[in-house]
């Protein structure tokens, strides 16, 4: 890319403004569609009513559907997309691997084992929710990887291999529990949860996720320059004054907590964390000061759009959103790969 800094700044600004506008529109659309169709105008008025800025005449039911059910769902979708895309960008840079994504450290596999333990084995005897089980499982996988890779000291390859081992182990545990103890209905529930579902998320989930993603963003921006310094590897970063081990441990921990929180709420939604960072990098370049906020916005847009698609392709039924992100994501990704082919 031969861009003058001013042109790169313009592109970044255009991307931020553009994706913000699309995000607002997409969230409004997502709130409008469903069994009860609600026009955009009503959606807007319902929100401003809620804040006390307007007092338009909207039916109680409509207001409740908008505020209590659909808006929280759309905002959680946006935050999940934002968090996953940002985690993907960080892990790709930190591990210097184009295939890295939020689940590379075995987190979704661990989460599924935790969820299955709660759903099928009844661990915690009802005192532990599925989300808590999944979160615990995700963190167990992360600790497993951290120990196996020597706290990230063994280099990127060792970390990735440890993640692969963790994923295999926890997937095997999940399959073992499902096949030995589960009935058909439970297996279906688990399957549905694994593919990702935004059903059932409400304001408490939004609040928790908003805090986690905001803190995550703050930490990641703080380390954005350090991530840039990893361009030529660990030793190069160290020779430019980066405390490689500390940066790595902090960022792994932050991405693990973000991913675990997201997975525990909505299941493992694939592809967003892999594709969005590549697409954004292609558009505005690799500098993390811009890349991370841009990933946040584009990831949010992508997930809200995927949610709209998942709810509107089939009458009366919602597709697992993980299926949509892959079905929509792969063609987009193919296009980017094609356009980004080497000029030689």
């Amino acid at each position: 890319m031969r861009l003058s800094p001013s042109r790169a700044s313009l592109q970044f600004a255009a991307l931020v403004v553009g994706s913000l506008a699309v995000l607002v529109l997409a969230i409004a659309t997502a709130v409008g569609i469903g069994e009860m169709h609600i026009p955009l105008r009503t959606v807007a008025l319902a929100v401003t009513n809620q804040f006390g800025w307007t007092s338009a005449d909207i039916s109680r039911i409509q207001a409740s559907v908008i505020w209590d059910l659909r808006l929280s769902r759309a905002l959680v979708a946006a935050l999940c997309g934002a968090g996953l895309a940002m985690c993907g960008a960080i892990l790709q840079s930190l591990l210097r691997n184009a295939l890295a994504e939020p689940y590379v450290l075995g987190i979704s596999a661990g989460a599924s084992t935790g969820a299955v333990a709660v759903i099928i084995l009844g661990v915690g005897a009802g005192a532990i929710s599925l989300s808590m089980g999944a979160f615990a499982g995700a963190l167990a996988a992360f600790v497993f990887v951290a120990v196996l890779s020597g706290g990230g000291r063994g280099g990127a390859d060792r970390t990735i291999l440890s993640g692969v081992a963790a994923a295999q182990l926890f997937n095997a545990l999940t399959a073992y529990i499902v096949t030995t103890s589960g009935n058909a209905q439970q297996a279906r529930d688990v399957m549905f949860w694994l593919l990702g579902s935004l059903g059932g998320v409400r304001w408490p989930e939004f609040q928790l996720l908003a805090v986690v993603v905001a803190i995550g963003l703050g930490v990641c921006i703080w380390y954005a320059r350090a991530l840039d310094a990893f361009t030529f590897g660990d030793d190069a970063a160290a020779s430019m004054g980066i405390s490689v081990e500390r940066v790595r441990l902090v960022l792994f921990a932050v991405t693990a907590v973000m991913t675990a929180t997201i997975v525990s709420m909505v299941g493992s939604i694939g592809f967003v964390g892999l594709v969005v960072p590549h697409a954004v990098r292609f558009l505005i370049g690799p500098g993390h000061m811009r890349l991370l906020p841009a990933c946040l916005l584009v990831g949010a847009v992508f997930m809200v759009l995927a949610d709209i698609v998942s709810r509107s392709v089939m009458q009366q039924q919602t597709l697992p959103i993980g299926i949509v992100t892959a079905l929509v994501g792969v063609p987009c990704f193919a296009l980017i790969l094609y356009r980004a082919r080497p000029a030689t």
Binding site: L3, R225, D235, A236, M240
Partner: protein, 252 residues
């Protein structure tokens, strides 16, 4: 003394890679590190740059132990150009050189005029100003190596360490690069393979063999038939050219 190594030892898995190495370099001088493959040159450079902690011994910069200064502080005074520093990231020449400003900038600090000056000066010193907007991946090996040196210079170091910077370059670019490095006026420690180049461009040489120092001193003192036979396992003749530089001629 600008750089001083005292009894440096470094081990990996019970194997001693750097074995009791001591030397010092005066400010502004170029020290050449010689030795066959696996003699510990790269490991020694990593110890000197503070990337690895020695098992024992210490590195002093102007009399201060580098173990006592923080990573960032160290990176503002010492720069390292590695042997194989590659990337898949689509960066421009300017992006790479700007990385050299990392130790001078806080996590959220804005880009300052001093940073621009350092980057411009570094690009000019290596003659890559005209390439600044080019993609890193479009560069030749020699150009990439010069950009790495510019990145190191943007750190504004007083000491510059280079690990076989002429690897994979054609002879014209090898000579150009060494001329550039020797004229920077920085205290320089450079690992080299080519003995003739070492004789041409270095003020002093340090020869490593199996992690130990086997010879050190001015090129004319160090490079002699016995040493070359014992350490490098080659027989050679020596020639002293009109410009008073030692030339090594290898026998078949």
């Amino acid at each position: 003394m600008s750089v001083r190594a005292e009894n440096l030892v470094w081990r990996v898995g019970g194997k001693t890679i750097v074995d009791d190495v001591s030397f010092d370099v005066e400010p502004g001088r170029v020290l050449g590190l010689l030795g066959p493959n696996g003699s510990g040159k790269s490991s020694l450079l990593r110890l000197l740059a503070g990337l690895r902690r020695p098992a024992s011994g210490r590195v002093l910069l102007d009399g201060t132990d580098i173990a006592r200064s923080g990573r960032r502080e160290l990176a503002r005074r010492v720069a390292l150009v590695q042997q194989h520093a590659a990337t898949d990231v689509n960066v421009t020449v300017e992006d790479v050189v700007r990385l050299g400003r990392t130790p001078h900038r806080g996590p959220l600090a804005a880009w300052r005029p001093a940073d621009t000056r350092a980057v411009d000066t570094a690009l000019e010193q290596v003659g890559m100003t005209g390439f600044r907007r080019q993609s890193w991946h479009s560069l030749s090996g020699g150009e990439r190596q010069r950009v790495h040196i510019a990145r190191a210079l943007a750190q504004q170091p007083r000491e510059l360490f280079l690990d076989e910077p002429t690897n994979h370059l054609d002879i014209q670019h090898q000579l150009e690069l060494l001329r550039l490095v020797s004229q920077l006026g920085l205290t320089t420690i450079v690992a080299l393979h080519d003995l003739n180049h070492a004789a041409m461009f270095c003020d002093r040489l340090l020869v490593l063999h199996r992690g130990q120092v086997v010879a050190s001193g001015a090129p004319a003192e160090v490079l002699n038939p016995d040493l070359l036979r014992d350490v490098f396992r080659v027989d050679c003749d020596f020639l002293r050219s009109d410009d008073d530089i030692l030339r090594i001629l290898y026998r078949k």
